[in-house]
């Protein structure tokens, strides 16, 4: 068990491609940190550098109190779980889990005891003599976990360990990993492209894009105070809605109408010297059926929209509508759309989604009055992507 400290860690591949740039990250002992981002953002490369499977071009990496830049993986004492599980097909479950211990020349009785204990924790006891080929996906995943935990390593490194499981199993294993990590209190670095996994598992989440760290924070911080438009668009499902807007006389002229700014936002925008043309970001829950919010005594600008699609989830209702003027686009948002496959499905990204209370009277094809909670609005600079309403000094 140990802390992991990255200082200015950079990875440049021999062909000159910059995979990871200047990552500063301090992971406390026992902390569960998630690296998340779209494919190609450098998260796996960062993990491989921590494991010692990739050389570090620049910067220092410390595990515990040692600089490990030039140490081979075997000397770093970390365990890794691979997306493909990477079980040794010619060994049975017992041999697979005991392999790291056999390499470390631990005596047979200790190996047996540790493997048996790990198998008990992971509910693999009756499968110990089976070969990986005869196990189900979930069992293989647990064997891979078992191989990591028998060693009592300084840290667990997990590279998308759940992405080969089907949706239901993934949710189960997610809670199991979370419980296991809490129980063992071993420092864990976990890579995923799935923001839901990142939000549910991590103590802290590191959002990366194109080799750069975008923001580091707790899941709640990332959700409520995204530092830039990329983090805002990446975290949250359904994603935040982005609209082109113009700042005029303390109000936002937007496709939804003129939205007066509250004091907090106005001050923040003044402090940041906001440009006239901005991008307004509203999460689905920033909207509410005005009939319902009036009853609850909330105030805010109201506009009328025609419901195109309505999805009822029982607890909530999602309504989709189109706003005049089209959606806001920046390179960051284009990238997110490409990554999530929205492009390929030909989905209409012009649509705005609002999450309403289940009690709403909204009907498909009919107009509905919606109220906007301006306290939950984010304003972004279209040129830099920075969140102009981000509270200064948050992190």
């Amino acid at each position: 068990m140990a802390e992991i400290i990255l200082e200015g860690v950079t990875k440049r591949f021999p062909d000159g491609a910059l995979a990871v740039k200047d990552v500063d990250l301090e992971i406390a002992d026992g902390e569960f940190v998630i690296l998340v981002g779209p494919s190609g953002c450098g998260k796996s490369t960062t993990l491989n550098m921590i494991a010692g499977l990739e050389d570090i071009t620049e910067g220092t990496l410390r595990i515990g109190d040692r600089v490990v830049n030039d140490l081979a993986p075997k000397e770093r004492d970390v365990a890794m779980v691979f997306q493909s599980y990477a079980l040794y097909p010619h060994m049975n479950v017992r041999e697979n889990m005991g392999f790291p211990l056999r390499l470390a020349r631990v005596d047979k009785d200790t190996i047996n005891a540790k493997v048996t204990e790990a198998a008990r924790i992971l509910d693999l006891t009756e499968h110990l003599e089976r070969k990986p080929a005869n196990l189900s996906g979930g069992q293989r995943q647990r064997v891979a976990m078992g191989r990591a935990i028998v060693r009592d390593p300084k840290a667990f490194l997990m590279d998308e360990p759940l992405s080969n499981l089907d949706a239901k199993l993934r949710v189960q294993m997610r809670t199991q990993i979370s419980r296991l990590q809490r129980r063992l209190a071993t420092t864990t670095v976990y890579v995923t492209h799935d923001q839901t996994e990142a939000m549910t598992l991590g103590d802290r989440v590191v959002v990366m894009r194109q080799g750069l760290v975008q923001q580091i924070g707790t899941p709640a911080e990332l959700y409520d105070f995204p530092r830039n438009i990329f983090v805002a668009g990446f975290i949250g499902s359904p994603a935040m809605n982005f609209l082109n807007a113009t700042l005029e006389n303390g109000a936002l002229r937007s496709p939804l109408g003129d939205l007066p700014l509250d004091d907090r936002t106005r001050q923040a925008l003044e402090r940041q010297n906001a440009p006239r043309e901005v991008i307004l970001g509203l999460r689905p829950e920033a909207f509410e059926d005005s009939a319902l919010s009036h009853d609850r005594g909330r105030t805010g600008p109201v506009f009328t929209a025609t419901v195109e699609v309505l999805e009822s989830l029982g607890s909530d209702v999602y309504v989709y509508f189109t706003a005049e003027g089209g959606p806001a686009t920046t390179t960051e948002l284009e990238e997110l759309a490409t990554d999530s496959g929205l492009r390929d499905t030909g989905a209409d990204t012009h649509q705005i989604v609002a999450r309403l209370d289940a009690a709403t009277r909204a009907r498909e094809g009919e107009p509905v009055e919606l109220q906007v909670d301006m306290a939950k609005a984010h304003v972004f600079d279209p040129a830099t992507g920075a969140n102009l309403t981000h509270p200064v000094g948050m992190d």
């Binding site: 494991a51 499977l53 081979a72 075997k74 079980l87 790291p100 990986p132 293989r140 191989r147 060693r151």
Partner: protein
Amino acid sequence: MAEVGKTHTARWAVVNVVVVLYALFPVWWIAALSFKDPSTLTDGDYIPRDWTLENYRGIFDTSEFTRALINSIGIALIATVIAVVLGTMAAYAVARVRFPGKRLLIGMSLLIAMFPPISLVSPLFNIERIIGIFDTWVGLIIPYMTFSLPLAIYTLSAFFREIPWDLEKAAKVDGATPAQAFRRVIVPLAAPGVFTTAILVFIFCWNDFLFAISLTSTESARTVPAAIAFFTGSSQFQQPTGSISAAAVVITIPIIVFVLFFQRRIVAGLTSGAVKG
């Protein structure tokens, strides 16, 4: 549907029988010859009228054949082991390691295989005489190894490429040195490839006639295919057909044993279950 299936099966059965007969007829013929006594040797019957083991007794009587058999087994086994060990390591490098001159190495090994061996026999003969390994085991092992290595590297690198990278990374993180990862994870998984290669190399060495006849002059290193060419009849006027047939039958036996033995190790799909699934 069932009717169609039956005629289909029947047609295939006929084709199979024809192919098998075509392939095995010469083998049967030579086996039949080896069991005939000299007087009926030329009667043209495919089944011997009087069965005799005289031909077999004859070839094992002198040291000419037994010594050649020992040479053959020794030389082929040693050349196979060396070629497979070197081939495994070279193939791993070709499949996995990035190094300058890799394409050149592959090209060179292909080049060796492209030369017709006959064009190299005279230079080899001279070289071996000068450095004093002519007519020795080493003198045959070296060319056998050289000519079977390209084949070994090619077959094996195909197998290594099939092994998921992640397994090697996993082994490294689990605390293995590169050598340990190679020996305990990669090679066991490439075992089918290693055995296939071993069989091919062994057959090549075992059956070679050209090098064996050119690079040997006495019994000390002459292998069976070469030795058979030196067989003589019991009299000047007699053809050694019977002995040659018997020797030909005897030398196919080790090959069959070798293949059967290693075939058990060639289990398809050994890597299944390593990743995903």
